[in-house]
Structures are given as structure tokens and as C-alpha cells.
């Protein structure tokens, strides 16, 4: 009798896991189809005219680029110089030194000939105190302003940047990002080419590790040799080309990457600015802005541009990757908790009925369920209830589906932007896609689990995100792996 009931329980649990897996697969297939339609339409709609000529227009709205910096002494000068080369007729660059403990501010003052700026600025969003605001005495750096403030984290630094910024559109960016020459023009287009009020727009983040960079621009896209970086490239393809493209099409986008996103300043301030109490401040802000718009019953939109606009360095080793993924998990969980009222709430339309449940079940819960599945499997082994033929069959289904999803993402990249030009890169990426579920995914699973454990323990910091940065090779600059 006891064995029968145990069998029943294990069978029910097995079915639940299976049902979850089936729903995940269906969700991914749906997202792949929708993404494909979106990419195809974007490709068809764009590219008729090189819109770069519009950069001579005086009617384009001015933009404030906000770049927080913390302990960036080694690369800050090159990074700011790169930002200063950004191609846009009217923009200011606001670098916010978030109480760095190294010589970041000194380097900035010396290199850009900074003096105190006594312009009037807003004090709308609460933040840690500002020590000083600087501007350059040199005409060539007239668009640059540097804010030196007490340390308060990235969100706090961005809030200060928003307070100090002069223009109505703000572009939040990681200081070490490399932008395409028309990145700002492409990102502002949704704001101008829409009948609805656009509150934010984001773009695809590309991986700069191993790429050749000259004068702050990507000259040659190379595939990194390191497996860990290649696996992240595939992950980014999946996330951006298949995930966010689909969400953008159904107007369910909940996240604009903190590395590069443009916002309507007024809406950001009305929503209360970046939340300093979460490590997922980028996602949290957009969710809050969208809630605000819905509450105010304003017809609004969030833009998403699939072109490669911004290149960034990803963690080149397991330790830093672990910290990053740990943080991302905590950020997702915190945001979902803060906005739990939206989940499965029909009042929020797509956001309530699709986006937030997706993030809850397939982003945050997925690693936990996967881990519970492993524990359940061990339990079955202990109880001698494992049918190894079943295990083999199920593992094969899971593995082939994971690979299928990755190679589909590679296909989308090949179909759309084909940034990795050499044929050998395609083969290497396919090989990476075959190996990634076995050698990379378990580590990501562990990092996400650790993130949840840390969250429960009350850990609320970013962790050190050291970067190898830009290394000079002659006149050219290569982002080290």
C-alpha cells in the first residue's frame, strides 16, 4: 500500500516536471516565431536610406548621456574620450563618479581640464550628496560634465545624473561601452517616429571581447577563443534576438539593458527614478514606468531596436560571471516581488498576463525548478525508482531542445545582422551551442541558485565587477578576453 502511494506521488511529481518542461518549450517556440516576424519586418522597413545624414539636423532633440563610474581609474580617460566621439548633433555627456576609492576623479580632472561648474541643477530625485560638479575649460570637451558624489551605487549615481542633466531625453550607459556611430540616432528614432508617447527605448547589446576597436569604434568583430565568452554570445543572441524581440512585438518588454537605454526624463522622474534598494534597477525602473503610464491611462510605447548599437565586455572568467548572474537573479526576484501585484493581473494586459508570469516562471523559477528536479532525481535513485531508459530519453529531449533553441538563435543572427563574418566562426558557434548545455548551463544554474540563497540571506550589493578593459595594441585597441 505504502509503495503504491509513493509510486503515485512520484508519478504526479514527474508529470508536474514534465508539464513545466512542455510549457517552457511551447513558450520558447512561440517567442522564436514572434521574434522572427519582428526581425523580418524590421529588416524590411529599414535600410532604404542611410539616415546618418540626419545627424546634421538641428531639429533632433538634445540628449544627456549618463555614465556612472566607480573605481574606473585604469580606463576612465579612454572610455570618456570614446564617449566624446559619439556622433549626435546635440548631446551632453555626464560622467558620475560614484565616490570611487581610487583616482578616477583626479584622472578626469587632470585629463579633461575640469573646473567647478556652478550651473543650476535639479534636486528632484533623492540621492547621496553631490560633492562637486565639473565642466571642462577646453572647447573640445564643452559637452562634458563630471559629477563627483558620495558612493551610493549605480542606481543612486544614475539618479544624480538625471538630476544634473540638462536635456529631456536621457541615455543611461555603462562608461566602458563602445557605441556604433549612429547608435543614438537609431535609439532616439522610436521617440520621434511614434504616435504614442514613448517612455523608453533600448537596443541589442553585443559582446566586444576580442573585437578590434579603433578610436572608440568597433573595426572588426572577432569570435573570442574562450568557451565561456562564446557561450555568453549565444546566450545574448537567445536573449535579445529571440526574447526581447518577441516581447517588443507584443508590447510586453520589461527590461531595457542597463548598459544602454534611452528614457524620457520626465516619466523617469515622475516614476521616482532608479530604485537604490535593488540590484536589478534597470528592470525595476521600466516596470515602474510602465505601471505609472497604465495608472495614468496614457497611451504609451517602449521602443526596441534590433540593430547592434552597443558593444560591451562580458565576464571573461567563471568567478566574475558567477557574481554577475548571482546579481541578475537577485535583481529579477526583487523586481518581481516589488511588483507582485502585476503578476497574472488582467488589469495590466500583456504585462500582467504574459510578461510577469513569464519572468516569474521561466526566468526566476526555472533554475529553482531545475534544481528541485535534480534533487527529485537523486531521491528516486535512492529509492531505487529510476528507470534509466526513461532518464536517457528525457535527457535527450532536454538536450536536443536546448541545442535547437541555441542554433535557432544563431540562425536568426545569420539571417539578420551576420556580425560574425567568417565561416569558421559559424562552425565554432555551432560547436559551442552543442557543448553549452553540458558545460555552461549547469554553472549558470548554480549561480542563479546562489543568487536566490544570497537574496534570502539579505545580500544586497553588486559584488566586484572587475573588467580587463581596453588594452592598446599599436594604434588599435583590442578588448581582451
Amino acid at each position: 500500500m505504502e509503495t503504491v502511494s509513493l509510486n503515485h506521488i512520484t508519478e504526479i511529481i514527474s508529470w508536474l516536471f514534465l508539464a513545466y518542461g512542455a510549457i517552457v518549450c511551447a513558450g520558447y517556440i512561440f517567442s522564436a516565431v514572434v521574434s522572427f516576424l519582428e526581425i523580418r519586418e524590421y529588416k524590411r522597413s529599414n535600410g532604404l536610406r542611410d539616415e546618418i545624414s540626419l545627424l546634421q539636423s538641428t531639429s533632433l532633440p538634445s540628449i544627456s548621456i549618463l555614465a556612472p563610474a566607480y573605481n574606473e581609474e585604469a580606463n576612465i580617460v579612454e572610455n570618456v574620450r570614446s564617449l566624446l566621439t559619439v556622433n549626435y548633433p546635440s548631446c551632453e555627456i555626464v560622467v558620475i563618479n560614484d565616490g570611487s576609492k581610487d583616482g578616477t576623479i583626479t584622472k578626469l580632472i587632470e585629463s579633461f581640464h575640469l573646473v567647478e561648474d556652478d550651473s543650476v541643477y535639479a534636486d528632484i530625485l533623492p540621492s547621496k550628496p553631490i560633492r562637486k560638479v565639473y565642466r571642462s575649460t577646453y572647447k573640445s570637451f564643452k559637452n562634458l560634465r563630471v559629477v563627483d558624489k558620495e558612493n551610493g551605487g549605480k542606481a543612486d549615481a544614475l539618479n544624480v545624473g538625471i538630476n544634473v542633466s540638462k536635456h529631456d531625453i536621457v541615455c543611461c550607459i555603462d562608461v566602458d561601452c563602445v557605441l556604433e556611430s549612429d547608435a543614438l540616432l537609431k535609439l532616439i528614432k522610436p521617440f520621434l517616429n511614434n504616435e504614442k508617447k514613448v517612455i523608453a527605448s533600448g537596443g541589442i547589446i553585443r559582446i566586444a571581447n576580442s573585437c578590434t576597436i579603433e578610436d572608440g569604434k568597433i573595426i572588426e568583430v572577432k569570435l573570442p577563443e574562450k568557451f565561456i565568452v562564446r557561450a555568453q554570445i549565444i546566450e545574448y543572441f537567445r536573449a535579445f534576438l529571440m526574447g526581447r524581440m518577441a516581447w517588443s512585438r507584443v508590447d510586453g518588454l520589461l527590461l531595457i539593458s542597463g548598459a544602454f537605454g534611452m528614457f524620457d526624463k520626465e516619466t523617469v522622474i515622475e516614476a521616482g527614478g532608479y530604485n537604490t534598494k535593488t540590484v536589478g534597477e534597470d528592470m525595476e525602473l521600466l516596470v515602474r514606468m510602465r505601471r505609472l503610464m497604465r495608472r495614468k491611462k496614457v497611451d504609451y510605447a517602449v521602443g526596441f531596436i534590433p540593430d547592434p548599437l552597443c558593444w560591451t565586455e562580458v565576464p571573461p572568467n567563471w568567478t566574475i560571471l558567477h557574481r554577475q548572474r548571482n546579481r541578475w537573479t537577485r535583481g529579477t526576484a526583487e523586481t518581481l516581488w516589488m511588483h507582485r501585484g502585476m503578476i497574472a493581473n488582467p488589469k495590466y494586459g500583456v504585462l500582467g498576463m504574459l510578461s510577469t508570469p513569464y519572468w516569474l516562471f521561466f526566468e526566476w523559477l526555472a533554475p529553482i525548478i531545475e534544481f528541485l528536479g535534480i534533487l527529485f532525481f537523486i531521491l528516486l535513485m535512492v529509492l531505487g525508482q529510476v528507470n534509466w531508459i526513461f532518464v536517457l530519453g528525457f535527457s535527450l529531449v532536454a538536450y536536443t531542445f536546448a541545442v535547437l533553441y541555441s542554433v535557432t538563435a544563431l540562425f536568426f543572427e545569420e539571417y539578420s545582422f551576420q556580425q560574425y563574418k567568417k565561416t569558421k566562426y559559424t562552425y565554432k558557434l555551432v560547436l559551442t551551442a552543442l557543448l553549452e548545455p553540458i558545460f555552461y548551463h549547469p554553472f549558470i544554474l548554480w549561480s542563479a541558485l546562489k543568487g536566490n540563497i544570497d537574496l534570502m540571506r539579505g545580500k544586497n550589493n553588486w559584488g566586484t565587477m572587475s573588467r580587463t578593459g581596453l588594452g592598446k595594441v599599436g594604434d588599435k585597441v583590442v578588448v581582451k578576453q
Binding site: S45, R49, Q56, V120, A122, E195, F390, F411, T423
Partner: protein, 338 residues
Amino acid sequence: MSFIDNIVQDWPWPLKVNAFFAILFFFLVAITILSLVFLRVYKNRRERNKRHYWDQIDTFLNNGLFDDTFDLAKETQRFKASHLVTPLQKKVAIREILVYNENLKGESSEILKNLFHDLGLDEFTISSLTDGKWYDKAKAIYVLSELQVKKAKTVALYLNDKHETVRAQAIYYYIKTADKNPLGFFGKLKKELTLWELIQLEDCLKFVYQGPVPDFSKWLDHQLNTVLVFSIRMIQQFDQYEHMERLVPFLDHQDERVRAEAIKSLRKLHFEGLLDVVVPRFLTESRLVKKEIIKTVETHGDLELLRGLRPALSIKEEWQTNLMYLRAEKRMQPTLES
């Protein structure tokens, strides 16, 4: 087959389902990888072909444009028969002609346009416009506009197209191909223009259109507010001082964008008496218009007049207007403490 059947028939059904999906996904993976490789090979091959066609059309165009001994009429027919057979060859040829056209002016540009016709590429483009999908239509209109092919009546059909890209290209077509009256298409517009389209129009008008500067006041009675905004802005940008007076009624327009644009233009045109009209209405104006009024006082008024606006900036007033006021005050009196 019976051997597999014998094995499978003893399996419990969940195992059969797993096996089915594992095999299905495996085949899909294989198909996707093959498609990926095929796409890469196809694109590489297409690129190679394109380069080859580019070389051919490039040589032909160079000879046609710059070699006086080249028998253009005869060679054009020969080239058309032998090198413009497939749609890809025609598309490459059109693209190359567009590149040349962008870099050449005067007589060479005229030869190019004639070649576009003589090579039958205009027929190909127009067939795309009439029979193609929406993106083919958009591309065709773009090509026609770049090469100044006069097909205004045909393109007019697309001015209110449901596809935004087609509609935008139709609008730009008119402005780029016009010898005079580049904004004539305004009369046919039924839908408001986006800010992006306004910027593109302005760009075409300033850098592409070659004819006489149009009289923008002609559109000041248009039913679309974005057309009004554009016309008011252009009156200022092209220094049409003679129409200044006609902008004044727009200070009372119901749309705040039109009022703000009117203030901005009148300010830049140095319209006398603007301050007398706009300052008294500061209290009741929208935020967008208030910003323009503050700028106007900063440009044409004095500190005393600016400070006169202060009582209207109540505590409940939006922070943007307050900030703008403080910045203006600071600039007008640099020694003021922030």
C-alpha cells in the same frame, strides 16, 4: 521496420513520447544547422555574385560616363541583353547607379538617369511598385525619388498607405523630385506626420531639393497640426519675415505644439511685441509653452521681466518650468548664487 516496431511496442508510452520528441528535436537541430550553413554559403555566394555584377556595372558606368570613345547606345543594349537578366543583376545595377548618382552632379547625373531608363531599370522598378509587396513598393519609391523619375500620379496613391515605410517614402518622393512647390503633397495628406518625418522633410528640403524656396505660409490653413508646426518652423528657418504677422494668430491655437512653435519662430524672427503678447498669458499656459515664454523673455526681455514671471511659478508648478526659470535667471545674472 518490423525490427524497430518489435522494440518500440514493448516500451511504455511516456518513453515513446520522449523518443519521438528526442528524434524530432534532433532532426530539427540538424535541419537548422544545415540551414544555417546553407544560409552562410548562400550569402557568401550571393555576395560573390554581387561583387561580380558590381564590377560589370561599374566598368560599364565608368566607360559610359567618362570614356568619349564608348558607343553608349550600342553598349547599353548589349549590356542590357547580356548582364541584366536576373532580378539580382538588376537590383545590383540599380544600387550602383544610386551610388554614382549620389556622387555625381550635372551632366554625368543626367547620363545616369538616362541609363537607368535605357537599361530598362525604370520598368523593373515600376513593376515592383505596382505589383510588389509593401517593402518592394517602399524601395521602388525610394529609387524613383533618388533618380528623380517623374511618376507623381502613381506615387500619390501611396501617400496615405497603411504601411508607415511606404507612406514615408512617398512623402519624401515628392519633396525630392519637385522642381518647384515641393510641399504640394501636403494637400493630399490625411494623417498627422511624426516628428521623425518632419525632421526628414526638413533635411530633404534643405539638402536635396534644388528649386526655389516655397512659400510656407500657403500651408498655414492646413487641417493637420503637424503640417502647421512644420510650416511655422520653416518660415523661421528660411527667414520668411514677410509672413511673421501671419504667425501671430497661432499663439491662440488650441494645440500647444502649434502655440509653442509659433512663439519659438516669432522669437527667432525677432518679432516686435512678442513679449507683450506672451508674458501676460504665462500663468495660464501649458508647460511646453511656458518653456518657450521663459526662453523668449531670456532672449528679448530683461531680468526684471523674467522675475515678473516668478509669482506664476507656484509651488505646485512643475519642476521643469521652475528649473528652466532658475537657469534663465542665472544666465541673465551670472553672479547670482545658485
